[in-house]
Symmetry: C2
Subunit: 235 residues, 2 copies
């Protein structure tokens, strides 16, 4: 069948938690989900910074407040954010393993969406770091055997996400995952953000190149002064 967003589940009532929600990527995704009317829990190493970022996002243009506890964007530490239906991992690659190990129990049964790109930078620009498990997503899968691990949101520009003037994100989100039901939830979540489509782009074993492609997008950004995203044609 061709892509038909109407076949995806209704996810409007799900809570989205974001580990590392105070970083650029996490903050940007939090804003877009909040703007789409999703309940969002922002997590941070510091509960105070998590709460503060939540308050900042709740005050941004287009975010309608008052749904939960007087606000549908709330914040706390990463354990607080883990107490959500879908938990997005938006932390730096360094520390990715330790954080997930520490939250493994809390993340039991949850849909966990890894969007971490293991990249290094030197004088020649970005490059892909080797990962013993194959990819950040596969490392998450190994550390969280009782969670439903997917990978997605690798290529969304943090700059565009957080810019209130950007009405729609012009890109497709490639969702990886062996658990088709969990992947469909993540696809539907991507579709909640104006302009985005969530497409299933294969199993988790094919996540490494999606993470690595971020290095190429950074190279394109530098070369063409852009915030590059990708669209899949003929779908």
């Amino acid at each position: 069948m061709s892509f038909d967003p109407s076949t995806l589940p209704d996810v409007s009532d799900l809570t989205v938690g974001i580990l590392g929600g105070t970083g650029p990527q996490g903050r940007g995704l939090a804003y877009r989900f909040a703007r789409a009317g999703q309940r969002v829990r922002i997590g941070s190493r510091s509960a105070e910074r998590g709460s503060q970022t939540a308050a900042e996002i709740a005050a941004m243009p287009g975010v309608v407040s008052g749904l939960v506890n007087g606000n549908h964007v709330t914040g706390g530490d990463n354990a607080y954010a883990s107490d959500s239906d879908v938990v997005i991992v938006a932390v730096p690659w360094e520390g990715h393993d330790d954080l997930l190990k520490s939250l493994a129990e809390k993340l039991t049964g949850k849909i966990v969406v890894d969007c971490v790109n293991p990249l290094g930078f030197d004088k020649q620009g970005p490059y892909v770091l080797p990962v013993p498990e194959g990819s950040a997503a596969q490392q998450a899968e190994a550390l969280l055997p009782n969670s439903r691990v997917c990978a997605a949101f690798h290529h969304v520009s943090a700059v565009l996400l957080i810019d209130p003037e950007v009405a729609a994100m012009d890109l497709d989100v490639l969702v990886l995952g062996d658990d088709r039901e969990a992947a469909a939830v993540v696809q539907a979540l991507a579709g909640r953000i104006d302009g985005m489509r969530g497409l299933h782009a294969g199993r988790l074993r094919n996540a490494a190149q999606i993470e690595g492609l971020t290095a190429n997008l950074i190279a394109l950004n530098r070369r063409y002064k852009a915030h590059a995203g990708i669209r899949i044609t003929d779908v």
Copy 2:
């Protein structure tokens, strides 16, 4: 600067050789370049099959003949195709190393464009094969130290390329290469095919994920009954 195709060199007079030009990808690219008015040399292990494929392509709709030797699409063995300005490597991954080793001398000084995707297939679909050099393109670079190695044309659908009814290819070609001048020639060549843009997407060390992405496009094709390509947004 933003992408400006007018800054790319004029490549209309270059001869394009295609190693493995009788396979689906090579044949499709040969047809599109011939249709764009480019001089094309099709190579094959068998000189006879190379010539035969050239005759078939020369007779296809939209190909204007008569420019060189009574035909601007000619064929022969892979050594014949190597005697071109730009040589595209469109052979199967198996045998990639042996073929390039055998042609190293003939390819001295040439722009060599690797478009090989080292993929395996099992019951769960496509996956990326490990390559000691990092990628097919880096293997080519190691085997051809006196050539100007780039990588490109990984994601073009062979089915769409060869279909005369498809007027324009709806995708961007990601060109990798450390030799910026050679990469610009390859970008310009991509731009000769209706619908395509050739974008510089980083150094050769970032080729592996571009090759691997083909596994995800195959997964997308199977899932959505498509011939998926990619477009870079905001460029």
